[in-house]
Amino acid sequence: MAEEIDNKVTQLRKGILELAIMAALYHKTHYGYSLVRNLAGSGSVELKEGTIYPILARLAREGLVHSEWMESSQGPPRKYYSLSTGGRSVFESLQTEFQSLVQLVASASTGQTEEGQAKTTKKITVRRNKDE
């Protein structure tokens, strides 16, 4: 059972991590390690640092991110990533979709579907009318 949960968490993370990477690159250019710090600093999600590179490579193959090697003042050169114009618009669409999905999960987990919410609102209105 615990393993099944692990697998589901891994699947869930894969998609969301891609979105989180795009979100970080939407605001700022990052090299691999700074991106990891950015993602690790934003929450309690534990992640193997190596997992971001295949995602970055895939985004680059799809033309959603650009990369460029730049010399570092100390140590080896860094490979900086930024979202391409296409990547920015894809991210905006994905972000809207993601927010709708988050709302869907939130309302489903509290047992309030749209229909349920409508009924609740109706009940409240009727009760208010009676009180008046």
Partner: protein, 232 residues
């Protein structure tokens, strides 16, 4: 390539990247070099951000956070290469099936026995190493104490010999000069204790290396079992 790490850490990084390179076979050389350069750059940044522990501690923590070379490399390979890997694996399955058919369980159990034996032998060597180091330190300090007594009050030993009626304590050519024997004993004892302490200090690294190898093997075994479970 410039060395950006202290010597010991550099060796561990080079080993990690070498293993990763082996898993990137099938990719063109330029892509391989670019991936390795990026991972090296990541290790450097992460290593410098890690402040706790000595060089080896820091680099091992850094690499653990990054993930195993095989995992990091495998996830970078294109689908075609993954398929190639699967084909290679299926060849391995055929080979193992062949071996099982012809040699059946005894070989499998024997194989497990060999691995367990190797690990046990390695652990035995490790225990023997630490036991030797501790015995060097303890006997070194005891001999140093004897040497000091011989220097401060040499008569004690001669008195004991006289009382016992035989030469329990013998100082060889320095039989009549126990103080000289005491100085020599003290020097040799301190060297022995220093050797023991040096062995204990370097043993810390050996122990860490053993743990690293053990963790790698356990990870592999865990993966094999979890893969097996997924299939069932």
């Amino acid at each position: 390539m410039n060395n950006h790490f202290p010597l010991t850490a550099e060796k561990i990084v080079a080993d990690y990247l070498e293993k990763m390179k082996m898993h990137l076979k099938g990719m063109n050389e330029n892509d391989q070099n670019e991936i390795l350069a990026e991972i090296r750059s990541h290790i450097y940044e992460s290593y410098n951000a890690e402040k706790e522990g000595d060089d080896i501690d820091r680099i091992l923590k850094t690499l653990k956070r990054l993930g195993e070379p095989a995992e990091v490399a495998a996830s970078r390979m294109g689908e075609s290469v993954s398929l190639l890997g699967q084909k290679k694996k299926s060849l391995l399955y055929i080979l193992s099936g062949f071996l099982i058919i012809f040699f059946a369980a005894p070989l499998g159990m024997g194989g497990l026995g060999v691995i367990a034996g190797l690990l046990a032998a390695l652990l035995g060597l490790l225990i023997a190493y630490f036991a030797t180091a501790v015995s060097f330190v303890v006997s070194g300090f005891i001999c140093a104490l004897v040497g000091l007594i011989a220097i401060i009050s040499p008569d004690i030993f001669l008195e004991i010999n006289r009382w016992a009626g035989e030469a329990i304590f013998q100082f060889g050519p320095f039989q009549n000069h126990p103080q000289i024997a005491g100085v020599l004993t003290l020097i040799i004892a301190m060297m022995l204790a220093a050797l023991g302490l040096l062995m204990l200090w370097s043993g810390k690294h050996i122990w860490r290396g053993f743990r690293y190898v053990l963790n790698l093997m356990l990870d592999k075994i865990r993966k094999i079992f979890s893969r097996g479970r997924k299939k069932t």
